[in-house]
């Protein structure tokens, strides 16, 4: 594999290799010398068309821990904002000798397009409403660390599935790794062809919660409300928000995940967000290890 564009492209062995590699590389973060020489002399470009300090910083740290040179290329204040096309930007990066391009873009498929135009490895850091493979890998990594297994794990993914690249990547990856996924959302936020996805669907969070080992909450963007996907934030929260009462009905060792940033109140109540069974901060830490693993596996060899 030359690029990481979709978790659907990963075989079970490949996905496990990423996770195992990440598990080894996680140690580096605990050492006094948090650096490996592996990607010395290689250049990683962070090409971010959307603001995402969290993901960009995570990739930057991962690349730097592997001794790669990192160039941050954000859409604001660059030639991109002057109307340069994605293709021309890609060819510019190519000419600069980028070995890898980490791309975040608001258009679905932007990473696929980029992969056709550049020689280097393309890492999809989130493309529109399509996929966000490293997020899914770090989510799955976190589940395995916390719960010790993936096979047969029951995972509920709750929220705006329709517009979620995190949900798409997670459904594909979790299925590959043997977990059972249930999507929970109001029907307006579920894709019409969801019955063809390798997961089940429920509109009833309360029915799914007690049967879940993992509850993954998705971010609900404010504009969805204006587009009338649901009547009000209050109603959404009442039906699909994870509050203390619902949290109490979860299994004792079940965990709560969120890709961040969290909207406290609507999707998740403050006491749930701050619970030790909520893995938000671990997910951030694990994100660096997983991205190191992916960068190593894509760039470390010939």
């Amino acid at each position: 594999m030359r690029h990481l564009l979709s978790t659907g492209d990963l075989s079970r062995d490949e996905a496990l290799l990423v996770l195992d590699t990440a598990a080894e590389l996680a140690q580096v973060g605990d050492r006094s010398v948090k650096k490996l020489p592996t990607l010395r002399g290689r250049t990683v470009v962070n090409l971010f068309y959307e603001d995402s300090t969290r993901t960009r910083t995570s990739f930057e740290l991962a690349a730097k821990r592997l001794s790669a040179d990192v160039i941050n290329f954000s859409a604001k204040g660059s030639s991109v904002s002057k109307g340069e096309s994605l293709k021309d930007t890609a060819l510019t990066l190519q000419a600069m000798g980028a070995d890898s391009v980490v791309v975040r873009h608001n258009a679905s498929g932007a990473a696929h397009r980029l992969a056709e135009w550049v020689d280097g490895a393309v890492l999809n850091a989130g493309d529109g409403t399509h996929e966000h493979p490293t997020q899914a890998l770090l989510d799955v990594f976190t589940m395995r660390e916390r719960l010790g297994r993936l096979d047969g794990l029951r995972v509920a993914i709750v929220g705006d599935v329709l517009h979620s690249r995190v949900a798409r990547s997670n459904v594909l990856l979790l299925h590959t790794l043997g977990a059972e996924v249930t999507l929970v959302a109001p029907p307006t936020l579920v894709p019409v062809s969801v019955h063809t996805w390798p997961c089940s669907v429920s509109y009833d969070l309360d029915a799914v919660l007690p049967k879940s080992d993992v509850v993954m909450l998705l971010r609900v963007q404010a504009e969805r409300m204006h587009d009338a996907f649901f009547p009000s934030a209050r109603e959404y929260s009442r039906r699909y928000g994870l509050d203390a009462e619902r949290f109490a009905r979860m299994q004792d060792d079940a965990i709560v995940m969120h890709p961040g940033p969290m909207v406290r109140g609507m999707e998740i109540s403050a006491e749930v967000a701050d619970s030790t069974r909520t893995t938000v901060n671990e997910q951030v830490t694990n994100g660096v290890s997983v991205r190191m693993a992916v960068l190593y596996l894509l760039l470390g060899g010939s």
């Binding site: 062995d13 490949e14 080894e24 050492r31 020489p37 190593y296 596996l297 894509l298 470390g300 060899g301």
Partner: protein, 214 residues
């Protein structure tokens, strides 16, 4: 995870073919000749254990670090022998050198071995690196770099089961199980009961692409 051979793990790297660094491929070539059998390996390890004790004057501050994959069970066996003599625990672990290799770009990305440093760390310790075959010396160079990023040992020594010569770097083993003169194109395969089911060192015929490591 640790029991998985490097060849097996390598073959999983993003679907690419095997890239065993020692060029040993299938670990029991039909035409290979046994140069050390099980009992001989046992005796060599017993001797090395005694040499370590002797040279380190009782080995109070010795930490054994095996280099995956087959250096790790060797380090374990040496540790147990020393413990048998001295009656105290010998810290041991594993030190993966993959990320420090100088030939990463010559093959598809390799799966990582395990790095497992004992809780007391390596600072101020006498670290004995343990590996199965010493060849070019590049693995040891990488191991020294990896060790350097973990801490600052008092001294570093090297124990090796088979030294097959053909050094490309100024590296010398402190403890050697057997010096085995080889031609560059021959392959040396170490089989250990932990991963392979039995102990043997095999000398195989020339392969199309000779192993460059050791």
């Amino acid at each position: 995870m640790c029991a998985q051979s490097r060849a097996e793990r390598d073959s999983q790297v993003f679907g690419e073919g095997s890239a065993d660094p020692r060029g040993s491929g299938p670990r029991a070539a039909a035409t290979a000749r046994t140069v050390l059998d099980g009992p001989e390996i046992e005796r060599a390890l017993t001797r090395i254990a005694h040499e370590i004790l002797e040279r380190t004057k009782g080995g109070d501050d010795v930490t054994l670090l095996g280099i995956p994959s087959r250096g790790v069970p060797l380090a374990e066996r040496l540790a147990r022998r020393i413990e048998g003599v001295e009656g105290r625990t010998v810290p041991r672990g594993s030190l993966d050198i993959t990320m420090y290799r100088d030939d990463l770009r010559l093959a598809p990305a390799r799966a990582l071995g395990r790095t497992d440093v004992p809780p007391e760390g390596v600072d101020g310790r006498l670290v004995v690196l343990v590996d199965d075959v010493l060849f070019s010396g590049r693995t040891v160079r990488a191991a020294l770099d990896a060790l350097n990023d973990i801490g600052r040992p008092r001294a570093v020594q090297l124990a090796i089961l088979v030294d097959r010569g053909h050094r490309e770097l100024p590296v010398r083993a402190d403890y050697v199980g057997k010096n085995l003169p080889t031609s560059l194109r021959e392959t040396v395969t170490v089989q250990l009961s932990e991963p392979d089911g039995h102990d043997a060192v095999l000398l195989g015929p020339a392969k199309p692409r000779p192993g460059e490591e050791g």
